[in-house]
């Protein structure tokens, strides 16, 4: 039995179709990522799976329970960390944790082993009000509260948005630890580079799933020739490269531009055509999740 099973789910808000016929399954113990920009439907999906919304069409199960019929059972076994900080700002760190434990009818002591690796980092500030914590500390408290009843499935909605690169990395380390303890995790993120931290990911955009696979296989599916190009004036290069024969696309990619070519593309011809571009350099490049996302979005 899968931990999460979503079948053809749709949800609209007025004229806006937030989710448009989504299906996927998450295995038990899997760390599964939903990767996509704002408006992809990630939050709506979380709200459906945590039984805070009902779908217009389709059905879904969490831990074998139906999200509409068995919402009570689901609420007892899932942990949910919404995108916006939703703890009580005027309760202290300790009071928040005790409150959530009481809500689920458990003792903090009984679950302490599970939350300890995370909670210990904020325990020195346990008398501080949650509203006075820094962003990174709030995130750790929210995760501790979401874990206090030993959920079997954990839902994390954009936990690393707006967080700096170091804290993001630490957060993913915490998730890997939780996965080791057998907890199924569904996590969303707009940062494409975080895909590699997941077992499998779904790339989503505007209410649809573009593809589902392991991060390695997604990148392996990029089957068009890709080059990296650079020159002294990167903006002029962008404009010039696009006019060359066989260039399907050329877009900025950090320090370099990525150039997607078709069969007509000839690297020598390209160099000859751009002979007057100073500092021109072109070489084959390895595609990334982001290249694949761009490709799928354009299809």
């Amino acid at each position: 039995m899968s931990a999460i099973k979503v079948e053809n789910i749709s949800k609209s808000f007025g004229k806006v179709k937030a989710l448009d016929g989504i299906s996927f399954e998450v295995e038990r113990g899997e760390l599964f990522g939903l990767i996509g920009p704002d408006g992809a439907g990630k939050t709506t999906l979380f709200r459906l799976l945590t039984t805070l919304l009902n779908p217009d069409e389709g059905r879904a199960e969490v831990d074998g329970f139906d999200i509409v019929k068995d919402y009570h059972a689901i609420r007892e076994r899932v942990g949910y960390m919404p995108g916006r900080f939703s703890l009580y700002q005027d309760l202290t760190v300790e009071e928040n944790l005790n409150f959530f434990a009481a809500l689920f009818g458990v003792n903090v002591e009984d679950s302490y082993d599970l939350v300890a690796p995370i909670y210990r980092q904020i325990e020195p500030f346990k008398k501080r009000r949650a509203g006075k914590l820094s962003g990174g500390m709030k995130q750790k408290l929210a995760l501790s509260c979401a874990l206090i009843h030993r959920p079997s499935v954990l839902f994390l909605d954009e936990p690393t948005t707006g967080v700096d690169a170091v804290s993001r990395c630490e957060f993913w380390d915490m998730l890997s630890d939780l996965k080791q303890r057998g907890i199924t995790i569904l996590v969303s993120t707009p940062y494409m580079d975080e895909a590699s931290r997941c077992d499998r990911v779904a790339l989503c955009n505007e209410g649809r799933i573009l593809c589902i696979d392991t991060p390695t296989d997604i990148v392996a599916g990029f089957d068009t020739p890709l080059y990296s190009v650079r020159a002294d004036n990167m903006y002029q290069l962008l404009l010039s490269a696009r006019g060359c024969r066989g260039v399907v696309e050329c877009y900025p990619f950090g320090e370099i531009h990525h150039l997607i070519a078709d069969r007509e593309f000839d690297i020598e011809q390209f160099k000859a055509k751009l002979a007057d571009v100073r500092g021109l350099c072109i070489e084959p490049a390895e595609p990334t999740i982001e290249d694949m996302f761009i490709k799928l979005m354009k299809q």
Binding site: P37, G135, V163, D164, S167, Q236, E255, I294, M297
Partner: protein, 246 residues
């Protein structure tokens, strides 16, 4: 004309006995895309507020667009552009109304507003959307419009505060193309971001740790200096040494 659009020395900001920004000094060249990075709590926002004329330094000296950061905050505000992902446009005003509002705030005359607004709409291929409510525009269009509005008074320098959060990769790239175009035209871009790959788009990058600028150079030279593969790695090496608790 001075080669530097921003030039600050020993800029410091204290809140009570807490030194949020500790004696930072750097120069930004005209037409440069300057990346301003730092971990959460490193003092980035405080530094940026001083550079934008929103808060006066406790001590130090410097100029932004030729105005004194210690005394001429109001002039700085008038002469720079500012755009952030969180706040940029009014959703319940039309495209035209937003342009007019910001042109007015920046003190453009009525005829000048009319002229530049028309020109902006044409350049963005937005003329048919003139009376559309901004709230109903796709995110990518909104972003282009925000940038156009932030530069309607043709500032020499634009501050972009995490401009691309939550945006899809295609829109993000279109946005960077617009930044390249502006920089190519001579506008200086000062940008903060949490996307480390975006740091690689910049001509030069500074990284703040514990209120100080710990590194400043081109992405290529920073990677060399720290023997790192990517800016992400450079950032992590520097920020891991942070002493200041978040």
């Amino acid at each position: 004309m001075n080669d530097y659009i921003i030039s600050v020395r020993e800029l410091t900001k204290c809140f009570g006995d807490f030194t949020a920004v500790n004696r930072i000094s750097f120069d930004v060249r005209r037409g440069e895309i300057f990346g301003f990075l730092g971990a959460n709590g490193a003092g980035k926002t405080t530094a940026m507020r001083m550079l934008c004329g929103l808060s006066y330094p406790t001590s130090g000296s410097g100029t932004v667009a030729g105005w004194d950061v210690m005394r001429e905050g109001e002039q700085i505000k008038r002469h720079i552009g500012y755009m952030s992902q969180r706040f940029s446009l009014y959703n319940d005003l039309t495209v035209w109304e937003n342009i007019r509002l910001f042109a007015g705030i920046y003190g453009l005359s009525k005829t000048e507003t009319e002229r530049r607004a028309t020109e902006t709409l044409e350049r963005l291929n937005f003329s048919s959307e003139r009376n559309t409510l901004v709230g109903s525009l796709p995110l990518g269009w909104k972003q282009k419009l925000s940038f156009a509005v932030a530069t309607i008074h043709r500032p020499e320098v634009v501050f972009l505060d995490e401009p691309t959060g939550g945006v899809d990769p295609i829109t993000r790239r279109q946005f960077w193309e617009m930044i390249y175009e502006a920089a190519d035209g001579g506008t200086t871009i000062f940008v903060t971001t949490h996307y480390m790959d975006e740091a690689e788009y910049c001509s030069r990058v500074s990284i703040m740790v514990d209120g100080e600028v710990r590194a400043l150079d081109t992405p290529a030279r920073l990677k060399e200096q720290f023997a790192a593969e990517s800016m992400d790695e450079v950032f992590r090496i520097l920020a891991r040494g942070a002493k200041r608790g978040e």
